[in-house]
C-alpha cells in the first residue's frame, strides 16, 4: 500500500473543469467548426400512427434530401434484452412503411445552414394515411386496440411476472388497499440538446463523429454495426457534453442518419437538435401506471404487494437496452426498504404511438419509489397511524444486512432506519405536526412527507447478465501514462458531462500516486485515445472508473518504486512514496527523474525493466451485484387548496453513499438530482391528445423548474463504506432524482389526510392538486364518518 499523501480522498477539491466554462470557452458539439460544414433539418411525421405512402423530394434538391430509400443499406440494430419473449419492431433511421409517433424522422435535408435546411424541409411533402393512434398504455392491451406492429399478438414488447413468497396468502390479509398510481411522461431536458457532426476523413480513411453522448465507445459499436464499417474506421469524439441524464446514451435515428449521410457526401454534416425536437422526439421518460394492492396486518406490518405495472414504452426499443429494463427495475424496486416478502407483479412493457422511452436519471425507480412510498402512507392513514411509524416498523435494520429483497436485490451495507430518523429530526416532524394544529394564517395547508430510496450502483457482470443485456457494462478501464517530466495523463472510458470526473478521478490518482492533482490530467471522450469503456450512466463512474484509475495507478507506483529504488541504490521494499518522490532512508528521487529514466534515459533503468510508465487496466468490484446508496427525503409543503399551488417550504435529505471522494461534488449531485425529481413531481409533463399529438413542445408549455421553484436542500451525510469497492465508494448520481415525487406527493396528501385526499398522479400540477382536494372535500361532505377513517 502507498502511504496517504495529503488526504485527497474526501477532500472538497474545487473542480478543474470550471475554468473553461466560466470563460465561455467550453467546447460543445455545436461550437465545432469544420470547413464546408452543412446543416441538416429533419422532416418528421406529424401523424402519430399511419401508413407512409409517399415522400416527395423537391426536384431541384433531390440530392440534398435523404429518405428511407437512400439509407436502405443501413443495418437495423436489434435492440432490447436478449430474451425470447421480448418483441421488437425494426427501428430504421427513417420511417418506412409506417410512422409510429409524431416526430419520427422521415427524411433529412442538407443545406448551407440550418435555416436553409428548414426551408428545404418545408418543401418535402409527405403522404400518410392515418391509422387510429394508440395513446394509453393500459387501453393499448385491449384485444381490439389498434396494433403498432403487424404480427404481434398485442401491443406489449414483453409481458412478464415477478413473484416471490406466497402471494396467495395475501388474500386473507386484514388490510388490503388497492390504488392506481400514475407517473406521467416527460423529457430528459439536458440544457444542451443532442448534437452530432460527422465527416469522412479521407486521409485517415475513417468516419469521424463528434457526438454529444454519455458513451462514445458503445456508440461506436452501434455505428459500426449499423453502418457496416469495421470499428477501426470509426472515431467517436464526445467533446464537452451539456448534460445527459440518460438522454444521450442510446442510438437514436437522427444520429444514425447523420453518420450514414456523412459516408455518402464530401462535406461534414451537422445536426443540432432544437428544443422542439428534443421535447417531441428525444428520449422520453418515466411514463408508468401502477395498479397495485398492498396487504398489511392490523399492527401495520406490511405483507405483500400484488398487481400490475404498465410502462408506456413508446413505439420502438432503443439500442442497446430497450425499455424492459425500465419495467423490471420498477417491479424489482417495489418492495422498497421494507420486509415485504410476498410479491406478485405482472409487468407490461407496452408499445404506444409516442416517442420511444429511454433511461432518465433514476430509471424505473422514481416510479417504484412513488408507488411504494405512497402505498405505505395509505396503509398508515387506513390504520390511523403515523406514516413514520409504519416505516419504522417495517424497515430493514442494519442487523439484517446484507438483505435479499423480494425483488431480488441484495442490499449491502448501511443503516436505513438511521437515515429515516435523521430526516425526521432534521425536517422537524413533530414541529410540523404542531404547526398543522394551529393552521396557517394565509389559508394554505401544510403537509410533511417522507420517502426512502435506495440506489443500486457499481453493479457489474452478475447484474447485467441477469438483465440479459446485450452490452454488459461490467468493468471500466483506465490508461495511466506518466510523461517524462513526471506529470500524468489518464485516459478513461467514462464520459464526464457535469459529474466532475476531471477532478474526482484526479483525486483518486493523486491519492494513489502521491502526486498533486495539478500534475494529473484526466482525459476521456475520444475513442481514438481512450481505452474501451462503457461511459457514464447508472451511477457507475466513481465505482468502476475510480477503481480502474486506482488499479492502474498502483501498477505505476510499483514500477516507480522499482526504478526509484534502483536509482537510490536501495531495495524496492525499503522505499516509500511521498509528494511526488520516492524516498529511501538516505535520499530521494523525484518522479520526474524516474519518468525521465523510464522514457528518455533507459540506460538508467534496472536490468529487465521495460521503458515507459504506462499501464492500462480494468476494474470490477469483487461482488458485481451492486452496492446500494440510500437515503430518506423529507419535505414540508404549503398547499393552496383552491388553486392547487404547492410551495416547498423545507426539503431535507439524510443519505449515505459510502465513502465520498469529493463531498462538494456529492452535494452538487444530490441537489441537482432533487431539482430534477421536483420537476417530475410538480412540473414536467408531455401530455398527448387523443390523436397522439404531443402537447408540450416548447418551454412555454413544458415547465422546467427555475431557481424560484427549487429550494436549497438540507443534506445530512452518513458514511457506511461499501465492502466490495475501492475505498468503500458507492455510486450516487441518481438518488436525488428518485425520491422527490414520492416525498412531495406524500407531503401534499398529508396536508389533506383528514379528508382522505387521493394523490396518485405526477406531476402534481395546480389543477391535479386542486381537483384532488375538491374531490376529497365533496366525498368527505357526503360521508363524513367514513372518509375520516
Amino acid at each position: 500500500m502507498v502511504e496517504h499523501a495529503g488526504g485527497w480522498i474526501g477532500a472538497s477539491l474545487l473542480r478543474k473543469e470550471d475554468a473553461r466554462h466560466l470563460l465561455g470557452a467550453g467546447a460543445f458539439v455545436a461550437d465545432l467548426k469544420l470547413r464546408g460544414l452543412r446543416d441538416v433539418a429533419f422532416v418528421r411525421s406529424d401523424v402519430a400512427h399511419g401508413v407512409l405512402t409517399a415522400v416527395h423530394k423537391p426536384d431541384d434538391a433531390a440530392t440534398r434530401v435523404f429518405t428511407a430509400e437512400d439509407l436502405a443499406w443501413v443495418n437495423v440494430l436489434e435492440a432490447g434484452p436478449e430474451l425470447a419473449a421480448f418483441r421488437s419492431g425494426p427501428y430504421p433511421p427513417f420511417a418506412s412503411g409506417k410512422v409510429r409517433y409524431v416526430g419520427q424522422p422521415v427524411a433529412a435535408c442538407v443545406a448551407q445552414n440550418r435555416a436553409h435546411a428548414e426551408d428545404l424541409a418545408e418543401r418535402v411533402s409527405v403522404e400518410i394515411d392515418a391509422l387510429p393512434a394508440v395513446i394509453d398504455c393500459v387501453d393499448a392491451l385491449a384485444p381490439d386496440a389498434a396494433r403498432l406492429f403487424d404480427g404481434w399478438p398485442d401491443n406489449a414488447f414483453i409481458t412478464s411476472r415477478v413473484t416471490e413468497g406466497d402471494p396467495a396468502s395475501l388474500a386473507a390479509a386484514p388490510i388490503r388497499l388497492h390504488r392506481r398510481l400514475r407517473m406521467n411522461r416527460q423529457a430528459t431536458v439536458s440544457l444542451e440538446c443532442r448534437g452530432i457532426v460527422a465527416h469522412y476523413d479521407a486521409r485517415l480513411d475513417e468516419l469521424v463523429i463528434h457526438l454529444s453522448t454519455q458513451g462514445p465507445h458503445v456508440m461506436r459499436r452501434g455505428f459500426a454495426m449499423a453502418l457496416g464499417l469495421p470499428e477501426h474506421k470509426i472515431r467517436v469524439i464526445a467533446p464537452d457534453v451539456g448534460g445527459g441524464f440518460g438522454g444521450k446514451n442510446r442510438m437514436m435515428p437522427e444520429e444514425l442518419a447523420i453518420a450514414a449521410i456523412a459516408m455518402k457526401v464530401p462535406y461534414p454534416v451537422r445536426w443540432i437538435e432544437d428544443r422542439r425536437e428534443h421535447l417531441i422526439a428525444s428520449v422520453h421518460a418515466r411514463e408508468h401506471v401502477y395498479d397495485l394492492t398492498i396487504s398489511a396486518d392490523t399492527s401495520g406490518v406490511l405483507l405483500g404487494i400484488e398487481g400490475d405495472v404498465f410502462v408506456d414504452a413508446g413505439a420502438y426499443a432503443l439500442w442497446p437496452s430497450g425499455p424492459f429494463m425500465e419495467t423490471s427495475m420498477a417491479a424489482r424496486n417495489l418492495p422498497g426498504p421494507y420486509r415485504i416478502r410476498h410479491l406478485d407483479i405482472r409487468t407490461h412493457t407496452v408499445a404506444t404511438n409516442k416517442a420511444p422511452l429511454g433511461p432518465y436519471r433514476g430509471v424505473g425507480r422514481p416510479g417504484a419509489c412513488f408507488a411504494i412510498e405512497r402505498l405505505v402512507d395509505e396503509v398508515a392513514h387506513a390504520l390511523g397511524r403515523e406514516p413514520i411509524d409504519i416505516r419504522r416498523l417495517n424497515m430493514v435494520t442494519s442487523a439484517e444486512l446484507p438483505y435479499d429483497t423480494a425483488g431480488g436485490l441484495r442490499f449491502d451495507t448501511g443503516d436505513y432506519p438511521a437515515a429515516l430518523e435523521t430526516a425526521i429530526e432534521r425536517i422537524g416532524f413533530s414541529a410540523v405536526r404542531a404547526r398543522q394544529k394551529t393552521g396557517e394564517p394565509d389559508g394554505r395547508v401544510i403537509g410533511v412527507g417522507i420517502a426512502f430510496y435506495s440506489e443500486q450502483s457499481g453493479h457489474g457482470m452478475a447484474e447485467w447478465t441477469k438483465r440479459k443485456s446485450r452490452v454488459v457494462p461490467g468493468y471500466e478501464s483506465a490508461r495511466v501514462r506518466m510523461l517524462p517530466d513526471g506529470s500524468v495523463v489518464i485516459h478513461v472510458g467514462v464520459q464526464n458531462h457535469g459529474q466532475g470526473h476531471e477532478t474526482s478521478l484526479a483525486q483518486i490518482a493523486a491519492h494513489e500516486l502521491g502526486l498533486d492533482p495539478d500534475r494529473i490530467s484526466i482525459r476521456y471522450g475520444d475513442t481514438a485515445t481512450a481505452p474501451f469503456g462503457f461511459g457514464t450512466f447508472a451511477s457507475r463512474s466513481i465505482v468502476f472508473s475510480g477503481g480502474a484509475v486506482a488499479r492502474s495507478c498502483r501498477m505505476i507506483v510499483e514500477k516507480l518504486r522499482l526504478i526509484g529504488a534502483h536509482l537510490l541504490q536501495a531495495t524496492p521494499d525499503a522505499v516509500r512514496i511521498e509528494h511526488g518522490r520516492v524516498l529511501s532512508a538516505t535520499g530521494s528521487v523525484s518522479f520526474a527523474e524516474i519518468a525521465a529514466a523510464a522514457s528518455i534515459r533507459q540506460e538508467l533503468l534496472p536490468d529487465g525493466v521495460e521503458p515507459l510508465l504506462e499501464v492500462v487496466s480494468t476494474y470490477e468490484p469483487t461482488d458485481s451485484r451492486g452496492v446500494f446508496s440510500y437515503g430518506t427525503h423529507a419535505a414540508v409543503v404549503a398547499v393552496e387548496p383552491e388553486t392547487g399551488e404547492v410551495e416547498i417550504l423545507d426539503y431535507v435529505v439524510a443519505e449515505d453513499c459510502g465513502t465520498m471522494i469529493n463531498p462538494l461534488i456529492v452535494d452538487g449531485q444530490i441537489q441537482g438530482g432533487i431539482a430534477q425529481g421536483i420537476g417530475t413531481a410538480l412540473y414536467e409533463e408531455i401530455p398527448f391528445s387523443d390523436l397522439g399529438q404531443p402537447l408540450a413542445t416548447t418551454f412555454a408549455d413544458y415547465m422546467v423548474p427555475g431557481a424560484s421553484e427549487i429550494p436549497a436542500v438540507d443534506i445530512a451525510h452518513a458514511c457506511t463504506p461499501a465492502l466490495v469497492t475501492e475505498y468503500g465508494v458507492k455510486g450516487m448520481g441518481e438518488g436525488g432524482a428518485i425520491a422527490p415525487p414520492a416525498a412531495l406527493a406524500n407531503a401534499i396528501a398529508d396536508a389533506f389526510r383528514d379528508i382522505g385526499v387521493r394523490i396518485d398522479e405526477t406531476p402534481l400540477t395546480p389543477r391535479r392538486v386542486s381537483d384532488a382536494v375538491a374531490a376529497a372535500r365533496s366525498a368527505h361532505a357526503a360521508q363524513p364518518s367514513e372518509a375520516a377513517s
Binding site: L14, L23, G24, G26, A115, L191, G668, I674, A707
Partner: protein
C-alpha cells in the same frame, strides 16, 4: 443578404447576414463567439443571454440586423470585467456549475443583477435568475455564489443611477 457592422466586445465587426438570422446565430456561426449558448431559441432558458447596450438580452430573440449600431457584450467580452471576475471565483468555490452549458448566460444575468441592485436575500437572487435555467445544479450553489459576490462587491459597485 446584407452587410452590417456590429460592435461586439468593443470591436467593430463587419459581417454579411440574412435578415432572419438571430444575433445568437451570427455571434456563434459567423463570428465564432461560441460562449453564447442556445438552449431553447424561444426566450425561456436564458442560455443565450448577452448584453445589448448594457441591458441583458436574449440573443436568440434579437435579430442581428436589429443589433446594428448597438453595443454588444458577450461572455467573451467579460474576461477582464471586475464584477464577472468576482462572480467567477464564487461560482468556482460554491460549485455553481456542473456541465457548464448554462454558465455563460448565468454569469451575464448574475452580473446584470449585481449591477442593478444589491440582492440581499436568497429570494431576490432566485427571482433575479428565474429566467436562467440550469438543469444540473439545482441552483443552490449558484444562489450562494451570487449572494457571496453581492456581499463582496457592494462596496465597489457604483449605485444604479
Amino acid at each position: 443578404m446584407r452587410t452590417i457592422t456590429l460592435s461586439v466586445n468593443g470591436e467593430d465587426l463587419t459581417v454579411t447576414v440574412e435578415p432572419r438570422e438571430s444575433l445568437a446565430d451570427v455571434l456563434r456561426e459567423r463570428l465564432d463567439l461560441t460562449g453564447t449558448h442556445l438552449g431553447c431559441e424561444h426566450g425561456v432558458c436564458g442560455a443565450c443571454t448577452i448584453e445589448v447596450d448594457g441591458k441583458a438580452t436574449r440573443a436568440c430573440l434579437i435579430l442581428a440586423v436589429m443589433a446594428e449600431g448597438r453595443r454588444i457584450t458577450t461572455i467573451e467580452g467579460l474576461r477582464d470585467d471586475p464584477v464577472a471576475a468576482v462572480l467567477r471565483r464564487h461560482f468556482h468555490e460554491q460549485h455553481a456549475l456542473q456541465c457548464g452549458f448554462c454558465t455563460p448566460g448565468m454569469l451575464i444575468m448574475a452580473r446584470d443583477l449585481l449591477n442593478r441592485s444589491t440582492p440581499s436575500s436568497e429570494k431576490d437572487v432566485r427571482e433575479g435568475l428565474a429566467g436562467q435555467m440550469c438543469r444540473c445544479t439545482g441552483y443552490a450553489g449558484i444562489v450562494r455564489a451570487v449572494l457571496a459576490a453581492a456581499d463582496e462587491t457592494t462596496s465597489t459597485r457604483s449605485p444604479t443611477p
